[in-house]
Amino acid sequence: MTRDLFNAELRQLQDDVLTLGSMAEKAILDALESMRDGDVEWSRRIIEDDQRINKKRFEIEDRAIFVIASQQPMATDLRALASILYIITDLERIADHAEGIARINTMMEPEPLPRRLGYIPAMADRAVAMLRDSLKAYIEMDVDAAVQICNADDEVDRLQDSVYEDCIQQMVANPATIQRNTYLLWTAHNIERIADRCTNICERVVYTVTGHMDELNVSRY
C-alpha cells in the first residue's frame, strides 16, 4: 500500500491552495490599481468578489477535514493537512486586507489621477512578491526558502516606516491633507498585515517538513 489515493487527495488540495493564493494575489494587485486609478466601481467589484474567495476557502477546508477523517493521516501527512487548514485561513485573511484597501478607495475624496501613493506601491510589490515566494516554498516544501522569505518582511516594515514619515510630514505641512494621508496610513497597515501573513505561511512550511513550530518573524505591530 503506497497510498495513491491519499497522495492524489493531497495533491488536489495543494492545487486548490495555489488557486486560492492566486485569487488573493489578484485581489491585492487589483485593489492597489483601483486606488491609483480612483476607480470606485472597480473597488466595489473587488469587495463583492471577496465572497468568492471566502467560499473557496471553506470548500478547501471541508475537503481537508474529510481527508483527515477518511484517510487518518499520521506524522508528515497529518502535518501537511493541518498546515493546509492554517494556510487557507492566512490566504483568506490576506484577501480580506485587499478588500480593506478597496474599501478605503471607496471612501477617498476624488483627486487628480493617477493618485500619487508614495512608497505604497513599492510596499505592495514587496508583499505580493512575498506571497508568491511563500506559495512557491510551500509547493516545493523548501525550508531554506521559507526562512529567507521571512527576512523580506523587514523590508516591508522599513517601507511602512517611510510611508509613515512621508504622510506625517504632509499632514504637518498641510492640514487639508490629513484625511487623505490617514487613508494612506490605513492602506500601508493593510499591506503590512499581508506581509505578516506570508511569514505565517512560511512557518507552516517549516512545520510541515520538520514538525517544529518556529516563529520566523516577530512583527513589531
Partner: protein, 291 residues
C-alpha cells in the same frame, strides 16, 4: 503495587543471579530509542530469540515504564507477540524456543534459575486477541485463578471488585451464574480482563485485545485501559495505529527487514513517535507507506 518483588517459589531461598550480557545493538537511528522517565517495570536487554533455527528477535533493548500503557506496533510477523510472550515466559511452553539476553522485572532477572514461571505469569497476566472465557459461569471464570492459587480471602468480594475494575459489573451483576460464553464479544473480552485482574497482577499484557471487537466495544476496552493504567503496567500489541495513538503513553515500532529479523527500530513517547518519528522506516510504516 503492594506486591513485593519476589518471584521465587516458596521453597527456594536464593535470589537469581543477575548476569548482564553485553552484545552489540542492532542498528537503529541514533536517538530513536528513548529511555522512559520514572519507575521502570520491565527492562529488556539485548534480547534475541530463535524458534528452532529461525531467529524471531534480534538484540531488542528497551525499558518499559510502570503504570503506563506501552504499545508494540509493526508489520505482521515482526515479532511483537513473541516479545510479549517473553515478558511472562509464555515462550517457555514452546519446546524449540531459545533465548539470549536478559529481561528484568523491577530489577529481578525473569529468567533466573530459581524463578517460578507460574508466579511470573500470575504477576504478569495476559489477555489474548480472541476472547477466551472458560465454558463456566461468569463467577467461576473470574474466581478461577484465585481458586487454583488457594486464595484465602473473600472470593465474592474479589469477583465483584475484579468485575468492577473491568467495567463489566453493572452489566452482569444480576446473573453471575450465566455462562461466560453467553456474553457478547466485547463483554467476553472484559470478562477475560476481569479474570486477569483477579489474579492480582502487576503487569497486564494484551495481544491485539480489540481485533475481534466492534468499534463501540473497542472504545470501551480503550477507556478501560486508561482506567486500569492508574494501577497496572499495560503492554499492548495492536495493528490499529489510531488505537496505539489513543491509548498508549509509549510506543515501540518493530520491524523485520532483509538485514535483521525482529528488531526494535524506534521507541519513545507516543505523541512524538506518531507526529515526528525519528526513523524513516517508522514514518513510512505509520503513514501506511510500508513496502
Amino acid at each position: 503495587m503492594s506486591n513485593s518483588v519476589d518471584l521465587r517459589p516458596a521453597s527456594t531461598g536464593q535470589r537469581a543471579a543477575e548476569g548482564t550480557l553485553e552484545r552489540p545493538m542492532a542498528q537503529a537511528q541514533p536517538g530513536a530509542i528513548v529511555e522512559p522517565e520514572g519507575e521502570i517495570a520491565i527492562t529488556i536487554e539485548n534480547l534475541s530469540l530463535w524458534y528452532g533455527p529461525k531467529q524471531a528477535l534480534t538484540n531488542v533493548s528497551m525499558k518499559i515504564p510502570a503504570r503506563k500503557v506501552t504499545a508494540l506496533i509493526g508489520p505482521s510477523g515482526c515479532g511483537k507477540s513473541t516479545l510479549l510472550r517473553c515478558i511472562n515466559r509464555m515462550n517457555d511452553l514452546i519446546p524449540t524456543v531459545r533465548i539470549q539476553g536478559s529481561l528484568y522485572y523491577h530489577g529481578v532477572n525473569l529468567y533466573g534459575p530459581d524463578i517460578d514461571p507460574v508466579e511470573v505469569r500470575r504477576r504478569i497476566g495476559m489477555v489474548f486477541q480472541k476472547p477466551n472465557p472458560f465454558p463456566k459461569s461468569i463467577y467461576d471464570n473470574v474466581a478461577f485463578g484465585a481458586r487454583v492459587n488457594g486464595f484465602k480471602g473473600n472470593l465474592d468480594q474479589l469477583v465483584e471488585q475484579s468485575l468492577r475494575r473491568a467495567a463489566l459489573w453493572e452489566e452482569v451483576k444480576d446473573n453471575l451464574k450465566k455462562s461466560g460464553l453467553a456474553l457478547s464479544g466485547g463483554q467476553q473480552q472484559r470478562l477475560c480482563i476481569a479474570r486477569a485482574i483477579a489474579n492480582q497482577p502487576d503487569v497486564i499484557l494484551m495481544d491485539e485485545p480489540c481485533s475481534a471487537l466492534d468499534p463501540i466495544a473497542t472504545l470501551k476496552i480503550e477507556d478501560l485501559m486508561r482506567e486500569l493504567v492508574k494501577d497496572y503496567t499495560i503492554i499492548i500489541v495492536t495493528h490499529n495505529m489510531q488505537q496505539a495513538a489513543r491509548v498508549s503513553d509509549y510506543t515501540a515500532f518493530m520491524l523485520t527487514d532483509e538485514q535483521v529479523t525482529g528488531q526494535l527500530v524506534e521507541y519513545g513517547p507516543t505523541e512524538e513517535l506518531f507526529t515526528t518519528p525519528k526513523d524513516r522506516r517508522t514514518e513510512d510504516y505509520i503513514s501506511g507507506r510500508f513496502g
